[in-house]
Subunit: 203 residues, 2 copies
């Protein structure tokens, strides 16, 4: 990891408290801990960098979406710094997908889909050390429970074939669906422009 | 402002560079500058705290949504710290609404709405100093242009009646539509739990 990323990590720890970056987490990756193959449920991701929100509502998927329903996606801040500088996902990148229900379909702003309550939590990690045999060194986890009432405290990675078929076939950039994440697309290797509001041109 | 918030602001400046927090911005608020009644286009908000994404697609609103189409909403980090501690929006709060097109309605994850390109930028600020006569001291701005190809460099606040009618009638908490922003709902006065992943219970 570059020294600049480490500076970013340390600074963010000051902002948000020790939950985000602790010495025990740093042993594995800056933002996750894997013990005996199981990933501890990450914490602090609502203070990471948000990258985009697909919504695959149950009512557009015969009542049972594969990923119900909104998916708020985040990247850890150190890997965001690396992405801004290089346009690549560094080893140790963790992306979080927080699942949120459709709470409403009508508001004073119009008809649409509006976020309700939390439903689940998923993660993907790129690590040559932990996943030398996975495509692109990415592995995938879910902390969701069938009744969507709670989250697991730790999770094992899905079998290779469960997630990578779609990610390998359809994801635009290094197994990540950047085509649906405007923050990552706009920020890929663009340095300070990536932070938003710097440029007047949108297209 | 509390010293803890100031610490957070300073730390984030280290992470993201001078664009987010400069002495000239600090004169007005930590994250915005108003000169002669006009708000400079904010920068750095993609590294602030994300709070939620409504989507009011054009195709669900007779081809012309009031707010096309995804709205990625952020709060400045200092006001987020205050929100976690107190459950209130502090004076000086700025919320950003970044508008994003619907890029696709079908993906390998299912049918739905998937974010495309940036379309516009809006902001709301709570300030008794700047807006003593506005309801709740909130004022509303848009940097969007009619053709959605660029952003204005500065913007004047909308007239009082343009935005506050809906916000006053329908917003759940101090003129903010927190009912659609799960990060704010879950984080309201909950301290460290607000950062995500701390609790196992979702309901």
């Amino acid at each position: 990891m570059k020294s600049r990323s480490l500076t970013g990590v340390a600074a963010i720890a000051v902002v948000a408290g020790a939950q985000i970056f602790t010495p025990s987490q740093a042993a594995d990756g800056d933002f996750f801990t894997i013990v005996d193959g199981a990933l501890d449920r990450p914490t602090g991701y609502r203070e990471w960098i948000y990258v985009g929100t697909p919504v695959t509502p149950n009512d557009m998927n015969n009542g049972k979406a594969a990923f119900p329903e909104f998916h708020n996606v985040y990247i850890d801040p150190a890997s965001w710094e690396h992405w801004k500088e290089t346009g690549n996902f560094q080893d140790g990148t963790i992306l979080i997908k927080e699942l949120v229900s459709v709470g409403s379909k009508m508001a004073s702003s119009g008809a649409g889909y509006f976020e309700g309550d939390y439903l689940g939590l998923e993660a993907t990690i790129k690590s040559a050390e932990h996943f030398p045999d996975e495509p692109g060194n990415w592995a995938y986890y879910s902390f969701s429970t069938p009744d969507h009432s709670s989250l697991l405290e730790s999770a094992s990675a899905f079998p290779k074939e469960a997630c990578n078929a779609c990610h390998q076939a359809s994801a635009a950039d290094d197994f990540v669906f950047t085509q649906y994440y405007p923050v990552l697309r706009a920020g890929k290797g663009t340095g300070e422009e990536a932070i938003g509001g710097v440029k007047s041109e949108l297209k």
